[in-house]
């Protein structure tokens, strides 16, 4: 048995001093981890960087450096850069179109009201009665501002409504009115009554099977023939009806998804409490079903918002049409890129905000369900 002898070495061993690994932190480390972590990725990075190098500088030169911000007419605005003077000159026409020039503060307030309504709807504390009141009030204000005819506002006929307010009206009023219709369709599709179910299915599938353009054509061209002689419906109203009919079919399918996800127990419980069909639907089924489908509803709304641009084809002056019309001024020709970029930016702001909101909502609403 050997006794262990404490080794006669100093306690501290002199390890060779190692240098920290080459930049695993800091900018270099980040670059290494995210851009150059393999040969393939390095090639990809170089390719992407090359692409950016080719596209970004000319784009910046076009949009900012060579751009002209003010000019008396189109001739004085050709430098190879963007002519933002064109947007400056046509801004009010693109936004408000043919609405009487002196009265254009009214559509401006309408747009602000809409934005306010949308922002308020994002606050979940307001959901329920306050929001319903807010929306009703908002629609009244918008109607008064757009039409006028009371409170000393001059009357403006709907054929002059144009630009961004028209786009917003078509999309938001359309969705608001399509909603109850869609609920009925969704309930109809799940009804036990065969005739109701068949008609609902036929309607939904028919509308979803055809492009929006045909529904708009139908409204603008054929609908007048469907009505008795002498009865005419306003062009805007016809387009609005087409939108509602189209959106309702898509919304109905979303709502149906929510209805299908309600556990059968909920319905049986309601039945055992002695609730009738309508009370069961209103108090038990719909609140749960709708809550579940809010994110896809917002996505649907984004789609509807983009779809309003199709009224270009039936000659309503929505935002895209006013931008397109502004391009035809002989004094300001050849600025299509500027007009489209500007319009696209407006559409993008609305859609991107809503899609981000829907993603956030999805995360929040699923919180309780997550295990």
């Amino acid at each position: 048995m050997t006794t262990e002898v404490a080794p006669d070495v100093p306690r501290e061993i002199a390890f060779p001093i190692e240098r920290p690994p080459v930049a695993s932190t800091g900018i270099l480390g980040w670059l290494r981890a995210n851009l150059f972590n393999s040969v393939f990725n390095t090639i990809l990075t170089l390719l992407a960087a090359g692409l950016l190098a080719v596209t970004i500088p000319p784009l910046i030169r076009w949009a900012l450096i060579d751009a002209i911000w003010s000019a008396p007419n189109g001739q004085a605005c050709r430098s190879g850069g963007a002519c933002w003077a064109f947007i400056h000159e046509k801004l009010r026409f693109i936004l408000f179109g043919r609405y009487p020039y002196q009265e254009q503060w009214r559509p401006l307030f309408v747009v602000l009201t809409f934005v306010g309504m949308i922002l308020a709807s994002c606050d979940r504390r307001l959901w329920g009665r306050p929001l319903a009141l807010l929306w009703t009030g908002g629609f009244v204000v918008i109607a008064v501002l757009m039409w006028g005819g009371i409170f000393g506002l001059t009357y403006v006929e709907t054929s002059l409504w144009s630009g961004l307010p028209l786009t917003l009206i078509l999309a938001i009023v359309g969705m608001a009115l399509a909603f109850p219709f869609a609920i009925l369709l969704a309930l109809g599709r799940r009804s036990k009554l065969p005739a109701v179910r068949m008609i609902s299915v036929a309607y939904i599938e028919l509308v979803r099977g055809v492009p929006l353009i045909t529904v708009l054509f139908m409204a603008s061209v054929v609908l007048p023939l469907f009505l008795p002689a002498g009865v005419t419906i306003d062009k805007l109203l016809r387009a609005q009806v087409a939108f509602i009919m189209f959106a309702a079919a898509y919304l109905a399918e979303v709502i149906r998804g929510g209805l299908q996800a309600i556990p059968k127990g909920q319905i049986e419980a309601a039945d055992s409490l002695g609730l009738g069909f309508w009370r069961r639907t209103r108090l038990i089924v719909l609140p749960q079903a709708l809550r579940m489908v809010i994110p896809p509803l917002v996505n649907n709304f984004i789609g509807a918002f983009k779809n309003t641009s199709l009224v270009l084809i039936i000659g309503l002056f929505d935002l895209l049409t006013t931008a397109n019309t502004a391009l035809t001024d002989p004094n300001w020709q050849g600025f299509a890129a500027e007009a489209y970029v500007f319009t696209a930016a407006i559409y993008f702001c609305f859609c991107f905000f809503m899609s981000r909101y829907s993603q956030m909502l999805e995360r929040n609403l699923n919180q309780g369900l997550r295990r």
Binding site: F93, R98, P100, Y101, E157, S159, L160, S220, V221, L223, P224, L225, L227, P228, A229, G230, T232, K235, I313, I314, G315, N324, T325, L327, T328, D329, P330, Q333, G334, A336
Partner: protein, 342 residues
């Protein structure tokens, strides 16, 4: 067969629910008088014919025709509402009652007069279809256009004439069709097409109104069709058609008689019985039409006679600088031959 069935079903429903459309023609005149405005379908934008300015106020030859009708009806040329329509929308807009008449360079053809349920007022412009090309192509005649790409408005007679002409001359072409005049013109001037074709006068309008340098483009000499352009009303509403027709005849007769916007007040003191009848000094004509006796006076006072309207918007004193040509009075070798007012 299905038609009969549907009709039977419809009749059954009417019997049960007591609904149905009135089978009678809607009298446009009553409707217009009640509304207090005439709704007039015009082009979406054609310099000289109907062009909105940046405030949205329309001016042009076709616009003045509508103003004259408003003046005849209400004594006020401002009581007219202009609805811009594309070539494809115009007929349905008229058929459905959205507009009361079209004043937008519509060609009078048999099929439109019959199958489309339209009626034509007198021709206000005798035109012919032509071709416009870029000068640098060096083309001198339409016969050299074999293989060309042609910009043309869909749903027009020009679209059909174009195909006919190339077929008759055994030439090939590729059409580019876009519904909006603005888009189509933009496509042509950006070089998407070799040729732009429409009525010759409208070619002049597009060249002046849309080209950044009008001198770079030439209109070829050939006229490949007859294009009698006339205001259009719904079929089966005779009273309204009469009013539109005689307003136009009154403007033409005024030129023939030498009555102008300036001298019309003096002419009220005239001794000429024909003039007195037209201007309502001798009553009777207004009653026959169902309007005020001063109808023709109001129209001439508001917009001038036919020749004045032509000169102001299309003729030598306008940007378009069109010759009167066929559109001169019959007394001066043209085709304008107004029916007598008596």
């Amino acid at each position: 067969m299905t038609g009969t069935l549907l009709r039977l079903a419809a009749l059954g429903v009417i019997a049960v629910f007591g609904i149905g459309g009135s089978a009678q023609a809607g009298p446009t005149l009553d409707k217009v008088k009640q509304a207090g405005t005439v709704t007039c379908g015009v082009q979406t934008g054609a310099l000289g014919y109907a062009q909105p300015d940046s405030q949205g106020v329309y001016t042009g030859f076709n616009v003045d025709i509508c103003k004259a009708i408003a003046a005849v009806l209400f004594g006020d040329p401002a009581k007219v509402k202009f609805t811009p329509l594309t070539a494809q929308q115009r007929f349905t807009a008229l058929q459905s009652g959205e507009v009361d008449l079209l004043s937008n360079n519509t060609t009078w053809t048999l099929q439109r007069d019959t199958e489309l349920g339209l009626d034509f007022a007198p021709v206000v412009f005798f035109d012919g279809q032509g071709f416009m090309v870029a000068k640098k192509l060096g083309v001198k005649s339409a016969k050299e256009l074999n293989g060309a790409t042609v910009c043309v408005l869909p749903g027009t007679t020009t679209e059909l004439n174009l195909a006919d002409y190339f077929r008759a001359n055994k030439m090939e072409f590729k059409p580019v069709v876009i519904e909006k005049i603005d888009e189509l013109a933009a496509a042509f001037f950006s070089g998407r097409c070799d040729v732009y074709t429409t009525d010759a006068s409208a070619l002049a309008s597009v060249r002046i109104g849309r080209a950044s340098n009008p001198d770079d483009y030439v209109i070829l000499p050939e006229r490949i069709s007859k294009e009698p352009l006339a205001p259009v009303v719904r079929h089966g509403d005779e009273q309204w058609k009469d009013l539109v027709s005689w307003t136009i005849y009154a403007l033409m007769n005024a030129e023939e008689m030498g009555i102008t916007q300036k001298n019309v007040d003096d002419m009220l003191k005239t001794e000429d019985p024909a003039m007195k009848r037209m201007l309502g000094v001798t009553p009777g004509m207004g009653k026959a039409l169902g309007v005020d006796e001063k109808w023709a006076y109001n129209a001439i006072k508001a917009v001038g006679n036919y020749g004045e309207i032509f000169d102001k918007h299309l003729g030598l004193s306008s940007a378009l600088k069109l010759e009167r040509g066929y559109n001169n009075l019959w007394t001066k070798g043209g085709l304008i031959y107004p029916m007598p007012i008596r």
